[in-house]
């Protein structure tokens, strides 16, 4: 019973993927289709991103609304980031970077709503995304530079004797990109949400006590509100960092050194 109580109150329970509607049928071998909370929030994210862009549509108005200004400002920032990082001649990657930024940003922001689900706290989403980007960038580099791509693993001016060692180090460092991109996002979101869950449970217990304790608890509660703000900042920072790194990987793939 004690063990069960621990499972229910676990701060990691919020990250559990559960099936909301499922279909099990002995067709196509054995078909199992489920709409999980992860799937539901992914759909919600899609509708929110599309809806946000509809609200920000400034096609028929002379004076833009606030949504429009915020979207145009985000577009300008991302556009300058792409031009600075990947180069003016490679602006064709802007739609990809823009979509990626809004996918991660809105995914992170939805997760800050109490009792919602954080899709970016799912290892499979983050690692799937980072592995896809890693393979994509490698394919792009191979298609542009062919066999010369492998010169990327030998920094210029390396003495011949050190080449085998450096190639190994560079290869490991390059391969680590596949995981690091996703783990950075996933770990930040999981850590932040777990901390908020633990602290809010503790604060709830304190607020439920006697009046003096409840009044005194307002002080840690203020700090907690600050932490919620920090979590919102993390949502923005992590989506920005992810897109910045993808830009940097794209630059490496296109320009090699």
């Amino acid at each position: 019973m004690q063990n069960l109580n621990f499972i229910i109150n676990s701060p990691l329970e919020q990250f559990e993927v559960t099936s909301l509607i499922g279909l099990n049928a002995p067709i196509f071998g054995y078909l199992n289709t489920s709409l999980t909370n992860l799937g539901l929030y992914s759909l919600l994210l899609l509708f929110l991103v599309v809806g946000l862009h509809f609200m920000g549509n400034n096609e028929t108005k002379i004076i833009p609304n606030k949504w429009s200004i915020s979207l145009e400002s985000s577009f300008a920032s991302l556009s300058s980031m792409v031009r600075e990082q990947i180069g003016v001649t490679n602006e064709i990657f802007l739609p990809f970077i823009y979509s990626l930024f809004f996918f991660v940003l809105i995914g992170n922001l939805i997760s800050n709503v109490p009792y919602s689900f954080a899709i970016t706290s799912s290892a499979i989403v983050c690692l799937g995304l980072s592995v896809t980007i890693f393979i994509g960038v490698t394919l792009l580099a191979l298609s542009i530079h062919k066999i010369k791509f492998f010169s990327f693993f030998i920094p210029s001016g390396t003495p011949l004797a050190l080449v085998p060692l450096l190639v190994l180090i560079e290869l490991v460092s390059y391969g680590a990109r596949a995981g690091s991109l996703g783990i950075r996002l996933f770990a930040n979101i999981v850590a932040g949400h777990t901390l908020l869950k633990i602290l809010s449970t503790f604060l709830y217990k304190l607020f439920s006590g006697n009046l003096v304790v409840a009044v005194l608890t307002l002080i840690p509660f203020g700090i907690f509100i600050g932490l919620v703000g920090l979590e919102l900042a993390v949502s923005f920072i992590q989506s920005f960092v992810l897109t910045l790194l993808v830009c940097s990987y794209l630059r490496d793939a296109i320009k090699l050194h």
Binding site: Y30, F93, P95, F96, T132, F134, I135, G136, L139
Partner: protein, 100 residues
């Protein structure tokens, strides 16, 4: 050319607009590009941009990742630890296959 569009006479309108703005019309294509850039997609203006050119490596990568994740899932649901787990939706199928 105008027949291909839902609103006839649009080409002429654009042509007049371009001429009024002192644009040099090189060919019919110039007019069409303007029309296409004004064409709506779900009520939004469409901004033509290359899609396949920047995205093909990521589409291929997505396919590879999908295959790898599917293989990983298959291996995980068939692992001795989870093959008989009541939460495993494939448990019945795995048990059935084990009998054959």
């Amino acid at each position: 050319m105008g027949k291909t569009f839902t609103r006839p006479g649009r080409c002429e309108l654009v042509r007049t607009f371009l001429q009024n703005q002192h644009f040099e019309i090189h060919s019919e294509a110039t007019v069409c590009i303007v029309i296409f850039s004004k064409m709506a997609f779900l009520g939004l203006r469409k901004w033509p941009t290359p899609f396949l050119k920047p995205m093909w490596p990521f589409m291929a990568a997505g396919t590879i990742t999908f295959y790898l994740v599917a293989k990983l899932q298959d291996a995980a649901v068939r692992s001795p630890e989870f093959a008989k787990d009541p939460r495993n939706p494939y448990a019945a199928q795995i048990a059935k296959e084990a009998h054959h």
